[in-house]
Amino acid sequence: MNELVDIWVYLASSPLLWLTATLLAYGVGQWCMERSGHHPAVNPVGIAALLLVGVLLLSDTSYQAYFDGAQFVHFLLGPAIVALAVPLARHLPKIRASLIPTLAALLVGAVTAAVSAMGVAILLGASPAVTLSMAPKSATSPIAMGISEQIGGLPSLTAALVVTTGILGAVVVAPLLNLLRIRDWRARGFAVGTISHGVGTARAFQVHAVAGVFAATALCLNALVTPVLVPLIVAAFGNLIG
């Protein structure tokens, strides 16, 4: 028994264990999504995160110890963001044909998402750290975390808010826009990509190719404008943040 404990202590402090656990947890998440017939509410990232949080709490492992292993996966976010240029360049002709509505929807979506998130948080008495962590949550997480750090939020709280926003948007977009009778796939895809970044984009591609293309464009464009807009919006809120 003591030997097992020793082995656990050794493995728990090595990067291998938590790197493996991250991939396995994501595998479980994907399996659940496939079993549910790609139901929008069954999200592999959400499932993996909940599983891993549970394991960390039960095994009394610190996030730092976990991240020593998981950082290898996390690191790939940088080159993956760069890689977004490829689909963006590929779909540029389709986007160019509806450039003006695209840019208008991008600005309105990015600004209303940040302003309404911060406004509601302030009205309901959130602390400044939470309000600031909320502001960049419609951008894809590496971008949002960078902004959060820069404006005085908590980057990992922002990451959790980003993923939750992604899942929420992917779940509500179809019933919400059906209710408003918006049938334009470009608008449907673009809106979910602007607000719900990668998670929304993955969902849009499952539903319709045109929606997917516009969602991917929105994700890339949002990654470019949110780092500029959010610091301005935070400055505009000023002392209201507390």
């Binding site: 949080v53 709490l57 996030y63 959130a126 750290a129 419609s138 990668g198």
Partner: protein, 126 residues
């Protein structure tokens, strides 16, 4: 794959370098994406080896979000104390943002005459 991955890392490195040099508030990878986009537009299209690396990378895009979202475990007390503003702000801003963005798209498209093509309209639901 190796060539493609090296190119992506090189553009990221160039982006990080530019961000430091110009003291810009944009994250390095975003600048790297911008630089790569400019290069692709100038060149006309992405070479197959680069497209393969990029598509491979993006296929498991959502896996890459897992380590950061586990960071939530550090803030369970904070979330417990402020769950109401957090949850309300998340739900409200997601709904408002999607509606505002979609309505703007439709309204502006109508205004400038950028009508959806036949394949760009959702069929009437039964």
């Amino acid at each position: 794959m190796l060539k493609g991955l090296s190119a992506l890392l090189l553009f990221q490195l160039a982006g990080e370098f530019l961000a430091q040099l110009l003291n810009w508030p944009l994250p390095g990878p975003v600048l790297g994406m911008g630089l790569l986009l400019l290069a692709l537009l100038w060149r006309g299209h992405a070479p197959a080896w680069l497209a393969a690396a990029a598509d491979g990378m993006l296929k498991h895009f959502s896996l890459l979000f897992v380590p950061a979202s586990v960071g939530l475990v550090q803030y369970l007390d904070l979330i417990g104390a402020e769950w109401l503003p957090i949850l309300t702000a998340l739900v409200a801003s997601t709904l408002i943002g999607i509606v505002a963005s979609a309505l703007t798209f439709v309204a502006v498209a109508r205004l400038v005459g950028a009508h959806p093509g036949e394949d760009e309209r959702k069929a009437d639901s039964p």
